[in-house]
Symmetry: C3
């Protein structure tokens, strides 16, 4: 059962405390670092071209998030991805705002086509734009996407990468097998960076898991489960955020055994 | 009555969910993004020269905050302001630290004299320095200002821009008409970025309001009202901040009808 | 007694409200600004080469933190340190990640050997690497250090700088006299930037204290004392953080008289 696997993966994560090299956006750096710590990883944020190869080489996973990119950072991101590829370090790409500007779309596509990305995780609009199935992105918000499940499958096939769309339900696919994560809470949509935090947690799980499709789904389920618990304490988005971070920290491997709600797509009517 | 207008404007804001393009400082990026979400807008942070024209063009308002500027960012800010001017998108300028260094003062003056800025919002020291009425700024704190009301009026007339000074009372003027916002709470002075958050909320209101003087006053009143409610839950500045962000989210248009305290200057003895 | 001195120093800090110029990392900028405000200082974050000399010259202390450095920021840091040296403004250096990459190690060593640094504060791994006593750093975490007390003393002697290692107990030494700060709480290790915040508070205390060894120990004790109080309210790391920031603000000089636990090394068995 996947719930058992999620729990074991989470236990492994807490034991190994993998180093996550982030090149992420300015908005969420503090949040990403904290959520990495709370889930059980060791975060490092480093973007200087001169230290990328050294830093990425010792990491257990690389998380690249293009939320506030510019030409200089793109170069560093590219070097980090190349370094990760050379050392067989898993790479998670969060294409924040792809579809909103050509710089973001082109950068995400460049990384996806020229390098090995292990997990691509975005919102429905971003993934639809990258898949070419016709979504729309305004700023960093998904405005429309024809069919998220279709977009995820197409992107996964097109780029040969495990692809995840987060939303009311999260869809994760490698092009063949598609999982739906039913954990989560609508409060997540009221705070900035909740998708970015999901990418960090995915990075932590794929750092320790061989089956990266399941590791991605487990990560999203764990984060969603923490959100469900946090929602009980929320009086608004900021107190929800405090509770969410507390709950990610307080989450135990055993909680995943009963709490995770992951289904494979064939079980679901769409 | 302005209270009714504020409530209607707020209702419109929550319905339209305007996209706010921010080029803001590193310190408050996360806070500005969250407060934008909570008040009902959609925030995007983007500073790369290569994507500015695309990003600003789709925004409903542009918020420029010079709190951690450098030459590269100034170029992007300038391009964003020019783009906003071309598309008739309102621009809010927060001249953080103007008066403390010539780079900041010169940059703010350059934007104010070469482009159309819709709202200039700062502390008493910053606005006095820009107005040339002799204020003093140390770091990013206002140290002295001879007469904030006078400074606001002079800046508004000199630059042809709606000018707001935040402080114990907020003063907003277009040079002719001057409004005093009596909402707010002293806890706001204990957290970093509370003025920057005010600028974000002003951006959200001017994005949907034609009368930008009233929209600015309504925005500051709404923020101040949320602060008043939050103060009841504060055990210190950090719990105040959590409560403030919750209250901004929980604020309803109807709350403004009774809660807003805006007066026109003639009613007030100075 | 040092407790009395700490209390007097804290009283002076709250009265003088020293301006702290920070060139710090992106991850903790917001936290550092807030903790500076809460302890009683006035923070300013500025990194533009063009404004460094003006900004540093009016500051009461300079805090340099290399947590997310790059070549451009290093130049600004160097100019700020040089300016501080020229104006006899105390400098606190936090060598985040020294030992993890040569860029970080070299930058920290360059600052320490070419300029006057007043206080060097890091974790055991970072200080051991800089002292040359054989520590190990992975990302920004201390992985191993042979003997922190030895490393602190050697670094202090080698660079002629007051050196502090934070950890379960904090060790502060000028090479001759060594103090051990026993305040603190393990919750501090669960949030990002808690060492960086300590550096900010050290900056605030050395800004107003002539005996920089004692000022450093008092700063770390005050921060640790606030952490002890905050721990009582924590339900996880995020609620601990909110409580910590509240407690730093609520801390009164009198609290230090009974609360500070600083010992000189000779009193302690190792």
């Amino acid at each position: 059962m996947i719930n058992q696997k999620c729990a074991e993966l989470f236990r492994k994560l807490r034991q190994q405390r993998p180093l996550l090299h982030h090149i992420t956006n300015y908005v969420v750096m503090n949040d990403n670092a904290n959520i990495a710590l709370h889930i059980g990883a060791s975060p490092v944020m480093a973007h200087a071209y001169d230290e990328i190869t050294e830093m990425t080489a010792i990491a257990s996973a690389l998380v690249v998030n293009i939320g506030t990119l510019d030409r200089k950072w793109i170069k560093s991101m590219e070097l980090a991805i190349r370094t990760a590829n050379e050392h067989n370090i898993p790479v998670v790409l969060d294409p924040v705002g792809a579809g909103a500007t050509s710089l973001r779309t082109d950068t995400a596509l460049h990384f996806l086509t020229e390098y090995r990305i292990d997990v691509l995780k975005g919102n429905a609009g971003e993934i639809s734009v990258l898949a070419g199935t016709g979504g729309q992105v305004k700023g960093v918000d998904s405005v429309s996407a024809n069919d998220p499940v279709q977009a995820v499958k197409i992107a996964a096939g097109k780029f040969g990468v495990i692809t995840a769309v987060t939303g009311k339900e999260d869809i994760v696919s490698d092009g063949q097998r598609t999982l739906v994560v039913k954990n989560g809470h609508e409060w997540l949509s009221t705070i900035t960076g909740s998708g970015c935090n999901a990418s960090t947690i995915v990075g932590a799980f794929v750092a320790v898991g061989d089956d990266k499709l399941e590791a991605t789904a487990c990560a999203l389920a764990a984060y969603g489960l923490a959100a469900e618990k946090a929602a009980e304490q929320a009086q608004g988005p900021a107190s929800f955020k405090v509770a969410l971070f507390d709950q990610v920290y307080n989450l135990q491997p055993e909680d995943l055994i009963n709490g995770v709600r992951i289904e494979t797509l064939s079980q679901i009517t769409h």
